[in-house]
Symmetry: C2
Subunit: 422 residues, 2 copies
Amino acid sequence: MKNIVVQKFGGTSVADTDKIKNVAKAVIKERNNGNDVVVVVSAMGHTTDYLVKMAKEISENPSSREMDMLLSTGEGVSIALLSMALQAQGCPAVSMNAIQVGIMTEKVHSKARIINIKTDKIRRHLDKGEVVVVAGFQGVTDDLEITTLGRGGSDTSAVALAGALNAIRCDIYTDVEGVYTTDPRVVPNASRLDEISYEEMLELARVGANVLHPRAVETAKQYKVPLRVRSTFKLDNLGTLILGVDEMELHRPVSGVASDLSQLRIVVCDVKDNPGTAAVLFNGLANENISVDMIIQSYARKALNTNDIAFTIDKGDLDKAMEILEKVKKDLEFSNVFVDDKIAKISIVGAGMIDRPGIAATMFKTLADLGINIKMISTSEIKISCIVAEDKAKEAVIGLHKVFHLDSEEIAEVKGDLPPEV
Amino acid sequence: MKNIVVQKFGGTSVADTDKIKNVAKAVIKERNNGNDVVVVVSAMGHTTDYLVKMAKEISENPSSREMDMLLSTGEGVSIALLSMALQAQGCPAVSMNAIQVGIMTEKVHSKARIINIKTDKIRRHLDKGEVVVVAGFQGVTDDLEITTLGRGGSDTSAVALAGALNAIRCDIYTDVEGVYTTDPRVVPNASRLDEISYEEMLELARVGANVLHPRAVETAKQYKVPLRVRSTFKLDNLGTLILGVDEMELHRPVSGVASDLSQLRIVVCDVKDNPGTAAVLFNGLANENISVDMIIQSYARKALNTNDIAFTIDKGDLDKAMEILEKVKKDLEFSNVFVDDKIAKISIVGAGMIDRPGIAATMFKTLADLGINIKMISTSEIKISCIVAEDKAKEAVIGLHKVFHLDSEEIAEVKGDLPPEV
């Protein structure tokens, strides 16, 4: 039995018929390595936007069941066209949508989770020597309802398929060349990482290096599927391999530096220091589905018996958060609320920082030497994040990138679809 | 239990989101009559053309399996959007594709025939008070392969569904107002027929009045489903009801006049008059899948022991037919072949012409009075067809329409999508 490789191509990789022919070449190249190949594709380029636009013309609030029915047609088009392109290049191929494969999900529309993937039909086609082209992003319930997987869906489909098929690797083809030590648009001599652990990738993904959705990385970690991020347009470049921390050859103290401008900071001043006040506040936020990232409670001012509580949330959640603060004002008895929306979260990530206490100190000293004031700090086992002023973000990233020896000799080539400009 | 009405809307009726909203109104109007409604829709306007164009860019000869996968996405879009439009107008609705319904077909791609339609899921949704919006044109095999039904597919889906559900009626909404006594572009005062029998409709469809595909009419006849052809854009107009000849109120001797310019005539001269010569020729044509419409063998010239054999075929089959004639030349010993591609087949159709021998005589006399020469004649129980010169077709249709009292007081309003201009 041959080894199986799962390849995933996103919307920009199959945006038009010429690009689809190019993708067919990448598939055939992998097949010529002697592996069985299963390909997962997203909808072509702007198809999803176009479908959403039509839905909005018809209904302000279309039902999520019908949205799933509508959007799932997008991958139906791309799997059929890619199969045709493979056949035209002499490679036996067959397309399969989620119903045909049996990508079983829970019955939740627009953000279903995969429960189980049936592999018998795919294996039968692979045994006949065919490449199997599978629709990403979509699933099906026991009673044949069509679902979609929500954000990061196609990557998740690919990784889950790789897990179910015991694939030796899942290659995520995209328009970046791999995972970089930081955004190459900020630091032109950012280095492409050859390897990175699932855990580091998760931390990087969460702080804004949106090469991969955290959900896909988590699924890969769960199934122990080695994941490769590579460019559709530079097939000779092997990209970055994401794998278990135990299998990594090299543990750098710091693998990457990232900045995240999506958050804002709220400081609630002079909160009465009674037991349970913090719970009232954060329960209120949680009930409204607002994710709180960093929380700092200042040392209580004993004379006044008050605290300051600072926390960060997504900028989009500000209005909802202020409503909740208004509601809990009586209980918390705070004096006033201060909102700071000009902040950046600067993070360094590295599986090798465990047991190296000097890393944090180096980060703080580097920022201090640059005259950058740290407003908040949070740490995990493999990540240290500091909140600084937004206009200092770029300088902070460049300084940290240099001090942790991440600079490359080469200047990275910058393409679209990278994280938002710092 | 309520009565069920099946409505079918073609591609031009759902060409854009405004038109889809309009279709939703027609559905709700029928539901307000107190009936359960199942709607069958085609792909939006030019979707199919666009998908075919992409397939051709990728492959000169795409596999029919992948073409079916590709094209079936078109109805996926329109059923979802129509369901959203119904919901937005306050009408509970649910979309279902062929796999979800269980429109079971044989495993033949691009022209599958329906074997069986499962009705349990549809009935369950109807019982909940929902309108069920079903994808036309597509089917599925036992092993979940997606098929399409080929020409006339969506009409056939609708009629077969109506049969399976014991619907009281199947309404085919289109952009013509019904079935006319002849093409209103040729005869502006053509009359819209209130009723016509399946048999007459079949004969009219076969001679060029392509309001409905013969396949859909045959299916309706088989299931005894009353079929109504009506306009999406004039909901007050009831169109034409097609039903069993026994249920018709009025049997006109002639219901319609049609002309068909798609054929040509081949005359094979001086064929040796031996038993079996005709069989050699027509078996050869049948083996190449060439449909022969009319055949006339002239009275044998006893002195020479030869015949002339004339027959008509579709213009597109000429090259293949000539190849076959070349092959059988030795057996048939004919002198030469004469091809006449400037012909028109003029037909009169009427369930009431049985047992009225004067009808044929009236047709021949009318043509003779107009100085139109008849090259071939064929008759069935409810149709008489004459081959005449192509440039006489219009004059013949106008003359026959008048002599059989089919002229209307009103001038028909002419829209697109009518049969090709005579």
